[in-house]
Amino acid sequence: MSGSSYFSVLTLAAGTVLVCAVAILWLASIRAVISMVAVQGASLGLVAVVLGVHLHDAGLLAAAAVVVVVKAVVIPVLLGRASGSDSGSRESRPLVNVPASLVASAALIVLAFVTGRGVAHFVGTRAGALVPIGIATMLIGFFVLVARRRPTFQIVGLLMVDNGIALTAFLCTAGFPFLIELGVSFDVLLGVVVLMVLSQRLRLEFGDVDLDELQELHD
């Protein structure tokens, strides 16, 4: 495909990742959030595909496939099943309410673009120019971890951090050698699985918990 269209698609995909992140911050219902995660995973995969096509990098395409399978299909499905039992459960009263979160995310995005500029400039490629988006996604994910009470939301936050970093990785270095990429995605998957198992157990042990009820352990 031509350079311009390649870049616009790339931008679009990367942008979607970020938009999904902001949306997740906005949404309260878990189902909607999970679908957003799926979309984010898909668009991350798209980024990988586009880059792979552009650079004629088979390894990258394979990585893209892995990413799509893991992050756009498997994990959302698992999440959906896990949170199926407590259907319709919502992040009713987040630690930071939605408007404030959105403002914060705006601030984080600005921060990402300020701090990411150096890296972007260093990478030099047009794809590299999009690195700040990855960093922003990561930061927002982190923010979700800090600001949301429900276990599922923390899993999602973690995923967002991962996606953001993966995005950065794709944009900077067109991904890692395939094996490592595989290992990374596998780790992410396992991590999410473990977290979901844990959240199941939490629910079994003490019913429907908010995480900040878990303050039994401290000095």
């Binding site: 990561m138 991962d162 990785a169 270095t173 094996l179 352990l217 000095d219």
Partner: protein, 492 residues
């Protein structure tokens, strides 16, 4: 080949456990496998010293002096931990009787844990290193939550969330290093190998490396338990079964620190020693101050041990900050000494917990008089941990202070010394209440009737660990060569 064997042995032990459905003999098989790993590690060390770095599995594994030293540390402590772990699953409060598949799961996970740690230190490639470290997080998450109590679940949740985030940051850092490497003309396949990183580090982009190392310290620092991302550590260490705490505190932290050491070497080549030094001094002092302040009013002896781990990681960070060979050698000696002492202490505290039924400091009284074996072990372990002779922590701390003075970090050494005195005061205060005092009647409340001293085969490895810790503190010859070589790997 040798390296492969070292890597596979613990996993073999794990499979044995799986096949043996966690029966006692299989647990012993696991112990044996870890022992074998230790033995092979020593052999590897000898070979490395004689013929230089080994490599295996078509270059994905590489062992220089530093790696084999870490292998020895891992082997030794996993031997201790799995030995004491033979009867741990039966100790899980909610099922007093031995529960086969749970003990099987336990054994397998522990062995996998050990395996991944060995992989981490033997990996030739920083990507593989990262994968291995993250894998340890996942494996241990179950182990931390193994007892399925509310506390343990909470702890494991915090543990995995915080550590995953941290490790993710480390990954970002790795990405940037990779980027720098590619731009410095490394070949993409091997650009992330330690050797090529060290080779090309001269040409890395400074600003990028600065950011990368910052992220790496923050990320791997999370697993090391360095402030400010240490927060998972006290919870996890206090909730996990004793052998797991021993493994985590004794080796996992230092395996993560191994990564920082490696990257520090790269950064030093790229940026000169100043930058990494500043960063490590900051986190080191931060961790020390934090550990000291939180030990003062500590009420739980397992958390006390956990915070002392944070303290020692801070010390190690300071030592690494000094960076000269002497300092690195001391850091490594400290890693070994702390590993031994701390794992013995955690294992002992596990015994104390099962005997006394509480992990609260004010719940345990006059231990020396009532349970001489446990009290004695705990006391001696604390003596070792507080850096008193003849234990090796004394020597290593002293040498670290020396090195810090030599590179002009004297002021940091002074601050560290102040923190250590505070720690000493706090720990001595707590220990006094736990250990000393008249032997009243053994308190029926809570204590699960286990008043018999631990059987010999339990006490033996603990005593052995302390003896070794004291031995390497006095006698130089077994280690000096290896330490020097290992220091040469990462110190200019």
């Amino acid at each position: 080949m040798l390296l492969m064997t070292i890597l596979v042995l613990p996993l073999l032990g794990g499979t044995a456990v799986a096949l043996g459905r966690g029966r006692t003999w299989s647990a012993w098989a696991a112990v044996a496998s870890n022992g074998g790993a230790l033995a092979l590690g020593i052999i590897a060390a000898v070979r490395v010293l004689r013929e230089g770095p080994l490599s295996g599995a078509r270059g994905t594994l590489r062992a220089d002096a530093l790696s084999v030293f870490m292998v020895i540390v891992i082997g030794a402590i996993s031997l201790l931990a799995s030995w004491l772990g033979v009867r741990t699953p039966a100790r899980a409060p909610e099922d007093g009787h031995r529960n086969p598949e749970r003990s099987a799961v336990y054994g397998v996970l522990v062995q996998a844990f050990v395996g991944f740690m060995i992989l981490a230190v033997l990996a030739a490639n920083v990507g593989v290193l990262w994968v291995a470290v993250e894998a340890t997080t996942i494996v241990t998450a179950f182990l931390v939550g193994f007892r399925r109590t509310r506390g343990s679940l909470e702890a494991s949740w915090k543990y995995i969330v915080i550590c995953s985030v941290g490790i993710a940051l480390a990954f970002l850092g790795t990405v940037f290093v990779y980027l720098a490497a590619l731009h410095a003309g490394g070949h993409s396949a091997h650009a992330l190998d330690w050797t090529s990183l060290m080779a090309h580090a001269r040409h890395f982009d400074p600003s990028l490396m600065r950011l990368a190392f910052g992220l790496l310290v923050l990320g791997y620092g999370t697993k090391v338990g360095l402030a400010p991302m240490h927060t998972w550590l006290p919870d996890a260490h206090s909730q996990a079964p004793a052998p797991v705490s021993a493994l985590m505190s004794g080796v996992l932290l230092t395996v993560a620190f191994y990564a920082i050491l490696r990257f520090k070497a790269v950064t030093d080549v790229a940026l000169g020693p100043g930058f990494a030094r500043t960063l490590l001094v900051i986190v080191g002092l931060l961790s020390l101050a934090l550990a000291a302040s939180l030990l003062i009013a500590q009420r739980d002896y397992k958390r006390m041990l956990a915070y002392s781990s944070i303290e020692h990681m801070g010390l190690i960070a300071l030592g690494a900050a000094a960076g000269i060979r002497l300092a690195i050698a001391a850091v490594l000696l400290h890693i070994l000494g702390h590993g031994l002492a701390k794992s013995v202490l955690f294992l002992t505290s596990g015994e104390i917990l099962t005997a006394e039924g509480t992990s609260r400091i004010d719940g345990v009284r006059s231990l020396v008089a009532r349970r001489p074996a446990l009290g004695g072990l705990f006391g001696v372990g604390l003596v070792a941990l507080l850096g008193l002779p003849p234990f090796s922590l004394f020597t290593s701390e002293l040498v670290m202070v020396r090195a810090e003075f030599e590179v002009g970090l004297g002021w940091a050494a002074v601050l560290a010394m102040v923190a250590m005195v505070v720690v000493f005061i706090a720990v001595v205060g707590h220990a006094r209440h736990m250990l000393l005092g008249p032997s009243g009647p053994p308190r029926p409340a809570g204590s699960s009737g286990v008043t018999a001293p631990p059987p010999r085969w339990v006490a033996a490895p603990l005593i052995g660990g302390l003896v070794v810790c004291g031995f390497i503190g006095v006698f130089a010859w077994p280690l000096s060569g290896l330490l020097a070589a290992a220091a040469r790997v990462v110190a200019t």
